[in-house]
């Protein structure tokens, strides 16, 4: 049955505005990175390239990630809502999920940013299909976990 989260309703104004503003920043950042390199700046692809032997493309990716940590760190330290963090399940489950995410994004050629923002934004049909698949898989996984009595953190 579909019910609306009452916590959401209480903070309707700023809650959705922050989500939209954050999305705008992510889109702008992706655009600047694309225009500055000619490389589609999906996070999984950028990160995986850093794991390879250092080459010509390693340094700018490290600079990008240094910026990412600085930007996130500043917001965590200054905006209460940004520091919200409710982990799901234990560290063992997170380790398994981490392997799945790393493996899946490389086999599938992108993640939420690479396929979901950049790929679709460039008009790629592949990225649209990939995004629909990982969204559906995420929804199905959460549904199954809920029915196995692992409710989402509130």
């Amino acid at each position: 049955m579909w019910t609306f989260n009452p916590q959401v309703a209480r903070h309707l104004d700023s809650y959705f505005l922050r989500a939209l503003a954050g999305g705008f920043l992510i889109g702008l950042a992706s655009l600047v990175a694309l225009l500055s390199t000619g490389v589609i700046p999906g996070i999984s692809g950028l990160f995986s390239r850093i794991l390879r032997k250092p080459g010509a493309g390693t340094a700018w990716r490290l600079v990008f990630f240094a910026g990412l940590l600085a930007g996130a760190g500043l917001l965590f330290a200054t905006v209460d809502s940004a520091a919200a963090y409710r982990p799901a399940h234990g560290l063992v489950a997170l380790a398994v999920a981490g392997v799945l995410v790393g493996f899946g994004t490389r086999l599938g050629g992108g993640c939420t940013s690479g396929h979901g923002v950049c790929g679709i934004g460039l008009g790629s049909r592949t990225s649209l299909v990939a995004t629909l698949v990982f969204m559906a898989a995420g929804i199905a996984t959460v549904w199954m976990l809920v029915h196995l009595n692992f409710p989402p953190p509130r």
Partner: protein, 148 residues
């Protein structure tokens, strides 16, 4: 320091700030978004919608003015150079979605949470690196969207 590097630091900074501001760094929020049959939290649709609209519109306007040349003269990728829909893309995205649903982490938010030294991110990110190396060793898979 060249302008390109300043751009890339700024891009990373905005990306990290955007992730934190939007709430995507909270795994509970992401799982609430995927929990469509429970107490659904639709706010992350605004994050993805806002990001996609900004990126697509900016990309369109830039190319209309400058063609397929980037800020520093690089050739910009276009949709027709992106990889075809194949079994790997479908299987990989399926596996990624399962991991995303379990953890509430996709790669960006997991990395951003390293800035707060959260235990979850400190476990998740090395595990993610192992998964990436596995994909490379087992399937020679390390494709990026469109270009390398």
């Amino acid at each position: 320091m060249s302008t390109r590097w300043i751009n890339l630091f700024a891009a990373g900074f905005l990306f990290g700030a955007g992730l934190a501001l939007s709430g995507m760094t909270d795994p509970g929020r992401v799982i609430g978004f995927l929990d469509v049959t429970g107490k659904w939290d639709p706010s992350l649709a605004f994050v993805m919608g806002g990001a996609l609209t900004t990126f697509a519109l900016g990309n369109y306007l830039w190319r209309r003015r400058n063609g397929a040349r980037g800020w520093f003269g690089d050739t910009l990728p276009s949709a027709d150079t992106t990889s075809p829909i194949d079994f790997r893309t479908l299987l990989g995205s399926l596996v990624f979605g399962v991991g995303w649903g379990i953890s509430g982490f996709c790669p960006g938010p997991a990395l951003a949470n390293l800035a707060a030294l959260r235990a979850g991110a400190l476990v998740f990110v090395p595990a993610m690196a192992i998964g990436m190396l596995l994909a490379r060793v087992l399937f020679q898979a390390d494709q990026d969207v469109g270009v390398n």
